[in-house]
Symmetry: C2
Subunit: 244 residues, 2 copies
């Protein structure tokens, strides 16, 4: 511990990883074990929270569409209140804190108030969910690049981005799947492009639906696909056969 850490309060912004509770980092688990206060998001595994010590306060800070849930301002206020009261505060987020999920917004808010923030990365679903389904995002001769986007409809209704990368990964793709698939097929002119939709990847509830752009929407509907799910598009999806 240096002088700085004795003087100024610290919030640990920790990535919980993609779902499997054993995929948190050693450093992230260490912070969770020591926390007095854990503010956690919707996609954080309940098994992971069992690691918190007796007496630690666990605060649910997830958002669910259509359900009353805590605002971003209230999350900021809770973090400031608890850390200024001298408590060890862990802000636990699904995946990686800096890949979507407003981690940098919270860090900026805290830093502007003189609060130190340490960011402990987590395994992003963009990489680990395809891997758990037998799909590497890169593979020699097949894919030497990948791009990651949210599948969510944007507030300003921008068209879905289709970057020129070998493998495309759309997080949170369920509500907007048809639009995403149409955009990719329109951009690439290839309805036969292999793809997979993976629900609850890396967990015991994992469900994998494979196909091509032309049939993935119908297959996902028949499989009653539910959030959270990741869409992967590209030739690497064909490796799932031999790799699973």
């Amino acid at each position: 511990m240096n002088n700085d850490s004795l003087v100024r309060p610290l919030v640990s912004l920790v990535g919980a990883g993609p779902g499997d509770p054993e995929l948190i980092t050693v450093k992230g688990l260490d912070r969770l074990l020591e926390a007095d206060i854990v503010l956690y998001d919707a996609l954080v595994s309940p098994e992971l929270l069992e690691h918190a010590r007796m007496g630690a306060e666990l605060i649910y800070a997830g958002k669910h569409p259509g359900r009353h849930s805590i605002s971003q301002e209230a999350i900021h206020a809770l973090l400031v209140k608890h850390v200024q009261a001298g408590r060890r505060v862990v802000r636990l987020k699904g995946g990686d804190p800096y890949i979507f999920g407003k981690g940098a917004e919270e860090a900026l808010f805290l830093k502007a108030r003189g609060i130190r923030v340490e960011v402990i990365p987590g395994i992003t679903s963009a990489v680990a969910v395809p891997a758990a389904a037998g799909i590497p995002l890169t593979h020699r001769g097949i894919s030497s690049s990948f791009a990651v986007m949210t599948g969510h409809r944007t507030e300003d209704n921008r068209p879905v981005l289709v970057p020129q990368a070998d493998t495309l990964v759309y997080l949170m793709c369920v509500s907007n799947l048809e639009n995403i698939v149409r955009s990719i097929a329109g951009e690439r002119g290839q309805w036969d492009l292999p793809c997979a939709v993976i629900e609850s990847g890396t967990t015991k509830r994992q469900k994998v639906i494979t196909g091509a752009l032309r049939n993935i929407v119908g297959r996902s509907k028949r499989a009653k696909l539910e959030p959270p799910a990741v869409l992967v598009v590209g030739e690497v999806v064909r490796l799932r056969g031999p790799l699973r």
Copy 2:
């Protein structure tokens, strides 16, 4: 342990993470603690290897340009030999096994020989190295997509890919930095685009060089940049000021 695991040998393909030895996953460390044989790559932290049990055999399987080093075929042969001799084999790779680094090639080779493979993801440098330098790859209103490529010159000398994503990440960028920067500026027509080059990110030797496309090559030369390094390009680099 199910029946399958009693019958067929298993290789654990484990991601060591981006450099900081505490950024391995709990599951990955667990496999390392139990291993009889650890085949590890050049970018794996030496501190991490100290977790292997007494008597475990540690085999260096890294490649260094210009130095005699083990071939991919020899790595395959070693994995097969040790796992078929009944040993618990961990193949430990820098970053994530399925993001570059030939993880899927090794998995395909082993599976074709009836050997089970479990893939335990690691934190990829593409995400954690920028984060450790105070740069989130996504941020509301600034970046809602990112693309990841190798910066290496390709064998067939393909031009460097510049996907249409808000943030661009080039891994292993040192030897080809000037070419990458010219390609991006050519594609985007914006020499003022903010960027950062991060050497040995997340480790104690981390070095961060920031600038814009127009001056990053000169600055990297003056800073005597050495591999491994990651190039990040995009407006998110401006967040490094308030976030570091």
